[in-house]
Amino acid sequence: MVEIKNPTSLINKDYESIELVSFSEWIEDSERLSKLGVGLIIEPGDDIYLIQNQLDLIELIALDFRGFDDGRGYTQAYFLSKRWQYSGEIVGINAHLDQLQFMIRSGITSYQLLESYKDANEEDYSNGFSLCYQAAANNNGLQLQY
């Protein structure tokens, strides 16, 4: 079990801490776990379609972005946020600073950086862009240019 602390101001609900279970634990025992108000960690290879009809039972969903080149989390975030209108928190965990802009626009509502970014100087990272060329789950206040 992992404890996630409120990582940034992006969080719009005020979780002090929430118990997280793995995807397989949830699939095996969702009826019991749903009564405990747990959150769910989804790995890139987990079949997100399996929880499509259970979203109301899940307090928070954490998507794992550890693999820098593994883009499945962005589609998972899109499904939760835009397609299925999940109303709970979608946390991008093990996030990389260079990829935050993609994660946020794909629909995550908060994030927790990988430990290795603990001492990172934010000025060394990009502020992102002033416009975007496509509609996405979250246009993030950017001017649409398409």
Binding site: G71, Y74, M103, R105, Y133
Partner: protein, 545 residues
């Protein structure tokens, strides 16, 4: 042609600022090699055998003369005075120093050029027929659609970290100059029985070790729904594509494993959920604006009574290099950069500036690049073609090779690329030396020879009449021969002739193949038609017999 707006330029500047920060972090040791590799590739930057290679996008192969001059400046200021036009209509510079990249890219933003997504596991430059908008009988000019789709997948948040690279080609003509069915995704503009415009979609084509012609996944997607369909195709690929095996990353492996019918079904199922989303509809107002941006810059002119110059060399060049234009009084001129011993597609900074100046004088300041690594002047007055030829000849750019086998397509090969197994350019040179008689070349006619130095197939050898693939055998360079690949009328992957042939014997083998073709063809029969009629055996007998 389309010009970047101030906002577009601002976006390019922001992208350079972002990449500069990433570069600085890498140079200071803060950003590790793996992550930097992923980020630099998305900015077109490769680490090659001797230096860094930077690939600049030429969207759907269209350049203004000012852009070409800016590329010439890059060649002089940051490289060794030349650039290399690629088979995907882009340009590469092979001798770039890492600390200078940001300044180089910043210089290019002034003319709306960039290196975004010219490499890496994302949507690459979209390619199109270099004659888009210029010829009679076209179904629709593909360029406005290329631009809209290019924009949409520019740093797309959901699809920027795909399992593998994703190449799209769009064709609006009846013949396929784009080779769309060997792309990860090919779009063919079509009209349905009601006369409405849409796209036929082909997914999972590709070259390389498992060459495959992309199956059709949708026969008609209405124009306004194309973005949502493309997103669905990429979404299925992003979720289900192979990420566990370096050689199976491309979408063709997913399509092959699932079967085309199942892949199409999954895409369609997803698409049904999004096709009515107003945010994903193609912006028809912007499409209209783009059609105006792409309107031809010429009006018909009456050249009744005009008689072209009579000159033997000029007429040979004209026969091979000049095509009819749909606008009265104009021609399309193809310029070959092929030089003996130089890499096909190489152009010096001086040549780039000469071409830019000539384009200003003769072609409404527009230049196009082709997958055969040539340059097209799209708007030349018929009564100025001779003057243009004289100028090209003066600068040694009037090679009449276009449409002959001497117009060889070759990748940089082992001379420059650390992936290559064998050399490409020296083989091209030897073939050109063997066939150096213009009369013979004209007699042979339009015959493609493409040479790739490894299975990555950068020179598209699978779709050439004669394809050569470099490989290593007991430490020696050998070449596998494939015959009768084509894409223009239908798409066929070339058939393997037999055992690979040594470097020493490969030019003899090519000559033997050409001779079998000449001896067997009837009238103006194309190589692929002769091959279909007589089969592979006569070629085998001559090469191995």
């Amino acid at each position: 042609m389309y010009k970047y707006s101030e906002k577009d330029t601002q976006f390019l500047v922001e992208r350079v600022d972002q990449f500069e920060k990433q570069l600085n972090r890498h140079l200071s040791g803060e950003l590790d090699e793996d992550k930097f590799r992923s980020l630099r590739l998305r900015n077109g930057l490769y680490m090659e055998l001797h230096a860094h290679m930077l690939r600049i996008a030429i969207p759907y192969g269209i350049l203004s003369s000012n852009q070409l001059r800016a590329l010439a400046d890059v060649a002089d200021n940051y490289d060794r005075g030349f650039g290399h036009f690629t088979t995907r209509q882009n340009i590469q510079f092979n001798w770039i120093q890492l600390p200078e990249i940001a300044n180089l890219l910043r210089d290019l933003t002034d003319v709306g050029l960039h290196a975004i997504q010219t490499s890496g596991k994302a949507t690459r430059n979209i390619t199109a027929d270099p004659l888009s908008g210029l010829t009679e009988g076209e179904i629709e000019d593909a360029r406005p659609y290329c631009e809209l789709i290019r924009r949409w997948f520019n740093l797309h948040p959901e699809f920027s970290w795909l399992p593998g690279k994703f190449k799209i080609a769009i064709n609006g003509a009846r013949l396929d100059e784009t080779a769309l069915r060997i792309h990860d995704l090919g779009l063919r503009l079509v009209k349905n029985t009601k006369g409405e415009l849409g796209f036929s979609v082909y997914v999972g084509g590709g070259l390389g070790a498992a060459a495959m012609v992309g199956p059709e996944t949708a026969s008609f997607v209405p124009v306004e729904d194309i973005l949502s369909y493309l997103e669905s195709a990429m979404r299925i690929y992003n979720l289900k594509g192979r990420r566990d095996h370096q050689k199976k990353l491309r979408i063709k492996f997913l399509v092959r494993e699932l079967g085309a019918a199942e892949f199409s079904r999954l895409v369609d199922e997803d698409w049904q959920q999004t096709k009515d989303d107003p945010e994903l509809k193609l912006n028809l107002k912007e499409l209209h604006n783009l059609k105006e941006d792409f309107a031809l810059p010429i009006e018909p002119i009456d050249l009744k009574g005009f008689k072209d110059q009579v000159d033997f060399n000029y007429s040979i060049w004209k026969k091979n290099n000049v095509r009819a234009h749909k606008v009265n009084g104009y021609s399309i001129v193809n310029i070959s950069l092929t030089k003996l011993g130089a890499a096909p597609g190489d152009a010096t900074s001086e040549q780039m500036r000469i071409l830019a100046n000539l384009a200003d004088q003769y072609s409404s300041s527009e230049i196009r690049t082709t997958k055969r690594q040539t340059i097209v002047f799209p708007f030349v007055r018929r009564d100025q073609v001779f003057d243009l030829w004289k100028s090209l000849e003066k600068y040694d750019l009037a090679s009449p090779h276009q449409g002959t086998l001497a117009q060889i397509v070759a990748c940089p090969g082992r001379d420059y690329c650390d992936l290559a197994k064998a050399v490409s350019i020296p083989i091209a040179t030897r073939v050109q030396e063997r066939f150096n008689d213009m009369n013979k070349l004209l007699d042979i006619g339009d015959l493609n020879i493409n040479i790739s130095g490894c299975e990555n197939s950068c020179a598209h050898h699978h779709i050439a009449d004669i394809g050569l693939l470099g490989m290593q055998k007991n430490g020696e360079e050998y070449y596998q021969i494939t015959l009768a690949g084509e894409t223009l009328h239908e798409t066929n992957i070339g058939k393997k002739l037999g055992p690979s042939v040594s470097s020493e014997s490969i030019v003899d083998a090519v000559e033997n193949i050409v001779n079998v073709y000449i001896d067997n063809r009837k009238n103006q029969e194309r190589f692929t038609d002769v091959f279909k009629r007589i089969g592979i055996e006569p070629f085998k007998e001559k090469v191995y017999g």
